[in-house]
């Protein structure tokens, strides 16, 4: 039966496309994952590795024998190696480079000069390029040779290789051979700088209406192109990173990473949160005497912290999106702060009254109701302020607010909430 099962897997995998095989491998526990991996033909493995996320990919790389790599790297190109290189030991990167021709090696070296948060690292180095004086016949010759995926325009460059005009392939069709291409060029056509940041450049391609935009260096020389499929994947990764960052993980996280590795990845985040939790406890500790006398404060304490935390995370989430999309800048942050403080004030008053009444009836103590009412109001307003200010400051220091924003915010709302509630309790309830 073991043998038959293996055959089934091989047949199943053979029928699926590369991305589905990659997703399947990611969704399998390690032992089964390796079994399926063994059933994938060596020639196909490279594409599958390229399509996988970092962590699950590394489990397969670690399980691959050193003498299997020759077959896997049989037709490796620069783009594939750029995607994989972070997951590969240096010796294997060298092996892959040895398997490439000179041109691909050069492509790899060129792209490696850019960090992986710059477009230069991710461009396709196969743009359709012709000189400015080219004619329809030149375009047809170029097209007949080979049109790469998502290349729908020819870039016309001057003698220095600088980008000048772009001509849509479909405009060339059916025209006489001698028509100059410049006569067919697009009126407006954007270029991307190789040092540009990934998200905004990808959005530019997504919105351009073209399948690729040229990527140029500082001298406007064409280095390659960014195609819409790559752009769309880069955007997916950007959003995934944001989602995962809110829980202190990165987007490479493996569903079935080994237990020690997974525990280690998450321990840091737990540790950071523990520090902030102890900090909050430290502030509560200052009011031990009060808590001993008015135990209702201990019972209601989490409500004050929780309402602040939720209100703050709403403002923070709006700010993180706004900063990432370029909606929030120093020019409108003041108006935004004012609006968020107003929203906080309004919701603060409403919920403070509700909670105050409930607390009053629950513990039959009107003063307790007043104390929690004021504490909630103060904490929700503080949360709105922190929700605007914390991500702005982090952004200014180039720290991703999606990652560290929520920890800092929760610390603020916990401490303000506990101190306000227990402090007011000490003043008015003892």
């Amino acid at each position: 039966p073991e043998r038959g099962e293996q055959d089934n897997i091989v047949a199943l995998v053979a029928a699926q496309d590369t991305d589905d095989v990659a997703l399947l491998l990611e969704s399998l526990p390690l032992e089964q994952r390796l079994k399926v991996w063994d059933g994938i033909p060596k020639r196909r493995r490279l594409d599958v590795l390229v399509a996988m996320r970092g962590d699950p990919r590394e489990t397969l790389i670690a399980a691959t024998d050193i003498d299997e790599w020759e077959a896997i790297f049989f037709e490796v190109d620069a783009e594939q190696l750029l995607e994989l290189s972070d997951s590969l030991p240096n010796a294997l990167v060298d092996k892959a480079l040895d398997a490439m021709d000179k041109q691909q090696r050069q492509y790899f070296t060129d792209a490696s000069q850019f960090s992986d948060d710059q477009i230069g690292h991710w461009l396709s180095q196969d743009p359709l390029v012709l000189p400015l004086n080219a004619k329809v016949r030149d375009a047809l010759r170029l097209i007949r040779r080979d049109v790469p995926t998502h290349a729908d325009t020819i870039f016309l460059v001057n003698r220095a290789g600088q980008f000048s005009e772009a001509v849509k392939l479909t405009k060339v069709m059916g025209l006489p051979d001698h028509v100059p291409l410049v006569d067919l060029s697009e009126e407006t056509f954007d270029t991307i700088n190789a040092e540009d940041e990934l998200t905004l450049a990808s959005l530019m391609v997504q919105r351009s209406g073209f399948a690729s935009l040229p990527v140029v260096d500082e001298q406007n020389k064409v280095l390659g192109r960014l195609d819409i499929s790559t752009a769309s994947e880069l955007l997916n990764e950007f959003y995934e990173r944001q989602v995962m960052a809110t829980a202190g993980m990165d987007e490479d996280e493996d569903l079935f990473s080994s237990v020690p590795k997974s525990a280690k990845n998450r321990a840091v985040w737990l540790g950071i949160n523990l520090l902030t939790a102890f900090l909050a406890s430290g502030f509560i500790g200052m009011f031990e005497a009060t808590l001993q006398q008015v135990v209702a404060l201990a019972v209601l304490m989490p409500i004050v912290a929780s309402m602040g935390g939720i209100a703050g995370s709403q403002t923070l989430t709006l700010m993180i999106r706004g900063l990432a999309l370029g909606q929030v800048t120093s020019s409108n942050v003041k108006a935004l702060l004012k609006k968020e403080l107003s929203v906080g004030g309004l919701n603060g008053v409403v919920w403070a009254l509700v909670i105050g009444c409930i607390a009053y009836f629950w513990f039959a103590d009107p003063m307790l109701g007043v104390v929690i009412c004021v504490a909630i109001l103060l904490n929700i307003i503080a949360a709105a302020a922190a929700g605007v200010v914390v991500p702005m400051v982090l952004h200014k220091f180039n720290i991703d607010p999606a990652l560290s924003g929520s920890v800092i915010l929760t610390t603020v709302t916990d401490i303000v909430g506990f101190v306000a509630f227990l402090g007011l309790g000490t003043l008015f309830l003892l």
Copy 2:
């Protein structure tokens, strides 16, 4: 100076592309937003509205005079109206339909039959379609007329209009007129069903290597196409919805919505969280007598809840992504639960010991150290279990775990944490 400022805005907006204008409008406080809106030529306003998010868009629609719509709807088409219709009062939808020709009205009716979480609602109704027996000359004639954005293939259909083959436009070029198109067709080419869910269909287009895939009905008849730019935008919206859902907001949320509206949007989420917070407080209240005698329990209580909440949200985040991508299914959820419990157990033991030691030294009470140690361990393991089970159950009932998962999870970890800690405290510290 007022006049000059207005001129400046008009000039600034005129130089920007539609998406940038939309983003600019979204990032302005309401008063300024309306000022800029007034400076945008009426012919351009429709495109800008289409590019905007729901809530900020509605602020502009509400501020537009009824007699301005004729000019705005001058060239409205079905796709634009489909995007806008949720934001428009019925009278304006009718006005727009009146401005369309019969074909566009039919397109609108056809697409409206699908709900907005189905591909049929978002398809482009301008596919390049030819009969199966068409030749290169027919293709060239079609291309010369007009090639829509991101249409890189011709779909060949049989007499019943059913999809049969696809031919890349660039393959047609330079070939003799009489060559049958079927000879040039792609080996593998996927189709999308009009009832398909948005995210997986969009990923299919993104990965296909083609700029559009055909959208077909149940009989395989071609209804239109889904292009890669639309697919990429749908994916952006999917991720934005996830990010915003974690704070109980939707992706249409306006950075500068009016204070009452914004407060109302967020109040629901605050209210739900308040219920769960009171539930947790209710459980704390059961231990009032214990808290009065051992006030250290009140001081350390938030730490137990917080560690459980963080650990649980890590598992939950991984699960939400896995469910959305189809990585997590009933076939691997058992293995996943086992892994998450192991990770929780390992991190639980480590952090339980750390926290136990700190608590012991802080309050000089060894038994308190043991109590918090056991409570932390129990809560982190419960958090791992809930992090897997809660989203699975929600998913089964077609409830988005990104929205309600975190509230339910926090409720579980709060209650388990408080009950375990205060319960053990009652048993061993009194």
